[in-house]
């Protein structure tokens, strides 16, 4: 799929030449032959959709006309099985589209399939999937990151043009980093969550993934905006007001980066990762974007706060999976309570059960104040920390490595949940604060990509996208992924 290098813009030629069907069927073929296991469901009907475009049966408009899109399997797609990579939802076919799926379809996009993930998005490696792990396209013995590992691997390997992922504690950025692609996690509220099968409702966002910042931006712009079905979503007009408020604040000055160096001191952070990120900062400095070392005083409490809030919400969000009217069920006649517990025991994997149990505990009478309320307080403090530092230092973005390590080996961390949770140290605070952030490739080591994270002010995606574009234009790291196509 060498033609995919030219991205969404280049795909217009394919459509204009009447080669959509041919391209899509080649793509399906490629996915079928792939070893990566990036997809749970491959949608063969995509070829029919493409044929309609070539035959002129579809109106020739839309910013994504014919573009093959991979969708993470926790986003509801009408008529297409949506499993969350869990035995619990095997066979569940949603009767409705997520709002963002409707938007992508309206722009002519073709859903090529549903991608693999950690079960219910709980994990950082895509190894907890009921359908087996996805392999990293750079080195097949490595994990692709997670939980949107299938989407990231598919984009990196050219098994789709763009993909949707979801990000609760880094699930778009982590696999984007491990697979060497762009992944944008928007501000909480910018993109409708209607149709996203909930894990941690107050934290998670749907994000876009692509091999160029421009394509990721295009998809993000399409899926953004107020949705009456999601009360936590915000209108583009309100977002514009927020952006303008910042502009009047400090016009005509140099762009400035904050470097969160207090988090860099940990010995467990891979030296190659740190070097690459510093080199990227120096490069940006050369390009006229100054940097300043900063600290966020409460950030060390981010991980425990995040895990308490996300697990608590998960324990409630996953309560609906009881086998009563969709998904996994039993062929036994038991009382309702025995049926529920047996179905949940057999339908959920280990990591899911672990998080549901811990969340249930954290919300229990007597513990609620000690854990959940305290976690909320920390969250408020972290939000304030970010707001204060952006304001005080007049920052456009805060930079960190996306992941503290290079992609690890399959099986390396799966039995050590605490170590696995710690790998989210750079991504999790951003989710707690609801801020936008993106991953861009900033180096390679041992043939594996290294990602840098740019964090922005709430609803100021353009700030971090602009800086990422400058970096992308002046370096070659991001383009390297096209070698995998």
């Amino acid at each position: 799929m060498k033609s995919f290098k030219r991205g969404i813009e280049g795909f217009k030629d394919i459509v204009n030449n009447g080669e959509t069907e041919e391209t899509i069927s080649k793509l399906i073929d490629k996915i079928n032959k792939s070893r990566l296991n990036a997809f749970i469901t491959i949608r063969k009907e995509a070829i029919e959709d493409a044929k309609k475009i070539d035959k002129g049966e579809v109106e020739r408009k839309g910013r994504l006309l014919g573009v093959p899109i991979a969708v993470k399997d926790n986003i509801s797609t009408k008529g297409i099985e949506t499993t969350c990579a869990s035995k619990m939802l095997k066979g569940y076919i949603p009767p409705f589209d997520a709002t963002i799926i409707e938007k992508l379809k309206r722009e002519g996009g073709i859903i090529i399939g549903k991608t693999n993930m950690d079960e219910f998005a709980m994990g950082s490696t895509t190894e907890t999937s009921f359908f087996g792990p996805t392999l990293n396209p750079w080195k097949n013995d490595r994990v692709p990151g997670g939980s949107s590992g299938g989407s990231a691997a598919a984009v990196a390997a050219g098994e789709c043009m763009v993909a949707l992922g979801t990000d609760t504690g880094g699930s778009v950025r982590c696999p984007s980093s491990f697979c060497g692609i762009i992944g944008i996690k928007p501000t909480y509220g910018l993109v409708s969550r209607y149709g996203l099968i909930a894990y941690a409702s107050s934290i998670e966002c749907i994000g876009s993934m692509a091999t160029s910042i421009k394509d990721a931006e295009t998809v993000l712009n399409i899926i953004s905006g107020k949705d009456p079905k999601d009360s936590t979503s915000i209108s583009l007009e309100d977002r514009e007001k927020i952006i303008n408020n910042h502009k009047t604040d400090k016009s005509k000055r140099k762009k400035r980066i904050g470097v969160l160096t207090t988090l860099f001191n940990d010995n467990s952070i891979d030296k190659d990762v740190l070097n690459s990120v510093w080199n990227a900062i120096y490069k940006l400095d050369d390009l006229g974007i100054e940097y300043k070392e900063i600290d966020l005083p409460n950030i060390r409490y981010a991980l425990p706060s995040y895990y308490i809030i996300s697990m608590s919400e998960a324990s409630s969000n996953l309560a609906r999976f009881d086998g009563t009217h969709y998904g996994f069920s039993l062929d036994e006649e038991l009382n309702w309570d025995s049926t529920f517990s047996k179905i949940r025991k057999k339908g959920f994997g280990r990591e899911v059960k672990r998080r549901v149990l811990m969340g249930t505990f954290a919300l229990s009478a007597g513990y609620y104040g000690r854990y959940y309320l305290k976690a909320l307080k920390i969250r408020s403090m972290i939000i304030d920390d970010f707001n204060n530092i952006f304001d005080k230092e007049k920052l456009d973005t805060i930079v960190t490595p996306t992941m503290p390590y290079k992609p690890f080996r399959l099986g390396e961390k799966i039995d050590d949940p605490v170590s696995m949770y710690l790998s989210d140290i750079f991504t999790v605070p951003v989710n707690l604060a609801g801020l936008p952030s993106l991953n861009i490739t900033c180096g390679f080591s041992e043939g594996l990509p290294i990602g840098m994270q740019l964090i922005g002010k709430a609803f100021c995606e353009p700030d971090i996208i602009d800086i990422a574009k400058i970096y992308e234009l002046n370096t070659n790291y991001q383009k390297k992924v096209w070698e995998l196509f």
């Binding site: 149709g195 324990s315 309560a319 969709y326 919300l363 229990s364 009478a365 604060a433």
Partner: protein, 500 residues
């Protein structure tokens, strides 16, 4: 609460410091005058709203096939999200204001987590800390005069689905779930434990129902429109809760049963345990559902899918939409129409009757109208268990017959008969009067009858002349019988006196 310069993404929570730790409620205040302490929780289905609480599904499912008023949201399908029906909040605020509650500055939804087959999401979206409103009051009339019942709180929540067992709970091998009810908007109204007898509980419910009718927020005649949980304890004893009672009478009976049960246990020196019970309406008894130890830990936490609401801003506008309520209307009726207090109370307890009275009073002397409507019409309606709108006795018909009554053309006794027949048959009053001969006998005719009776009953006449009053009654009775009740006894007496 935050300025635009520093947008905060998460506004789902109030300032965290405000979030109270969950504490046990304070012990109930005990009135030494009474040994029975009752508090009620009333669930009111806001079925006059067009759509459900969190989705666009229609609320008028009562005559529909099961599972025909559903969508991904009220089925709790994965990925669906609640979108709050603002009108439901408005209805809730109106009720809260009518119950003289104080609105909270900010109101917040919570998830109440528990597993049950009628709960498609595994949690119910309800309220906990930061309900819609707190601290209200309702005045009721008891045998000892007026009494204020305090309202603890008013909050909004969603109704679960309905479970059905074909052939009865004990016999059916499976349970059917009808999601038509799932997501219906419910208002929960919680009283303080201020009620001191089952009768007071019923009086309170009648008054509440009347206020709700005035506000036009629900149709109480629909199945499941009002469901009540009643808490009862004897002074110093354990508390039991009787769940899910569907009628005011049922509440009174269930509480009477519980009161007796508590007293009997106390006499035997048996400790009353905190427990939840079910009222078996058919058998008139309560049955143990679960004990305190078996109670669920609901793991309440703020619902992340619904942002915090500042409802206080709506208060002035909604206060203006509240109509004149029963107490105010009663005062006005007394003042404006000069009718008796108990008539005013009776008329205003039902908004439809109050309006009916006002229409009729435009053409009929209000005291006459009040007396007939409050003393006769209401009784006949209650007896038939129908309301005035369902009856055939339109205001127009009532005006027509009252006019005849005032002119003396129909007797008291025949008026009652006439009202009954209009209600039952729906026929025109004039037709009934003619057919049944209800029209008053003319003066000439009465005179003829009086003369005839005097002639035919010489002995009685003689007795009367000997100052035997009973004889007069006997003669009056004879005249009445001959006129088939169509003459005025007073007039007959006058005529008899004159001609004997």
């Amino acid at each position: 609460m935050h300025n635009d310069e520093k947008p905060r993404v998460f506004q789902s929570y109030p300032e965290i410091e405000d979030l109270p730790m969950h504490e046990n409620p304070q012990p109930n205040e005990i009135n030494p005058d009474s040994d029975v302490i009752i508090g009620l929780e009333i669930h009111v289905q806001l079925n006059k709203l067009k759509s459900k609480l969190f989705c666009g599904c229609s609320t008028s499912y009562h005559n529909s096939e099961p599972n025909t008023h559903t969508c991904p949201v009220c089925l709790g399908l994965p990925g669906s999200l609640p979108a709050l029906n603002k009108k439901a909040v408005e209805f809730g605020i109106k009720v809260a204001l009518a119950l003289e509650c104080k609105l909270l500055d900010q109101t917040l939804f919570y998830r109440k987590n528990y597993f049950y087959p009628d709960l498609p999401k595994g949690y119910q979206i309800s309220q906990y800390d930061f309900p819609l409103a707190k601290d209200g009051r309702v005045t009721i009339t008891t045998d000892a005069g007026e009494k204020v019942i305090r309202i603890n709180r008013v909050h909004i929540e969603e109704d679960p689905a309905k479970l059905m067992h074909i052939g009865g709970m004990g016999h059916s091998k499976y349970t059917l779930v009808d999601y038509n009810r799932s997501g219906m908007p419910l208002l929960e109204i919680v009283t303080e434990p201020d009620l001191r007898s089952p009768k007071e509980a019923r009086r309170f419910l009648d008054k509440l129902r009347s206020i709700l009718d005035y506000l036009d927020v629900f149709d109480g005649n629909l199945e499941g429109a009002m469901r009540i949980d009643a808490n009862i304890s004897l002074k110093g004893g354990g508390r039991t809760e009787v769940k899910n009672i569907s009628s005011h009478k049922g509440v009174e009976k269930a509480l009477l049963y519980e009161k007796t049960r508590h007293k009997n246990l106390r006499m035997k020196n048996i400790h009353i345990k905190r427990e939840t019970r079910h009222y078996d309406e058919q058998r008139g008894i309560t049955i143990l559902l679960r004990t305190k130890e078996e109670e669920e830990d609901y793991r309440y936490f703020p619902e992340p899918d619904i942002p915090l609401m500042n409802v206080k801003e709506w208060e002035t506008r909604l206060r203006n939409e509240i109509p004149e309520l029963p107490d105010a209307k009663r005062q006005r009726f007394i003042k404006e129409y000069g009718i008796k207090e108990e008539h005013a109370r009776s008329l205003t307890s039902d908004i439809a009757i109050a309006n009916y009275f006002e229409i009729i009073s435009k053409e009929i002397d209000p005291s006459v109208a009040a007396s007939w409507i409050a003393d006769v019409v209401k009784g006949e309606l209650n007896y038939r268990d129908i309301n005035i709108k369902e009856s055939n006795l339109t205001a127009d018909k009532m005006i027509r017959i009252l006019k005849k009554f005032v002119l003396g053309e129909i007797t008291d006794r025949n008026m009652v008969e006439l009202i009954r027949e209009i209600i039952d048959s729906g026929k025109d009053p004039e037709e009934i009067i003619k057919k049944r001969g209800f029209g008053k006998v003319g003066e000439d005719e009465v005179l003829l009858l009086v003369k005839k009776v005097i002639e035919e009953n010489p002995d009685a006449v003689k007795d009367y002349r000997n100052k035997n009053d009973k004889a007069l009654n006997y003669l009056v009775g004879k005249v009445m019988a001959l006129s088939k009740g169509r003459s005025d006894p007073k007039e007959v007496i006058n005529l008899l006196r004159k001609y004997i």
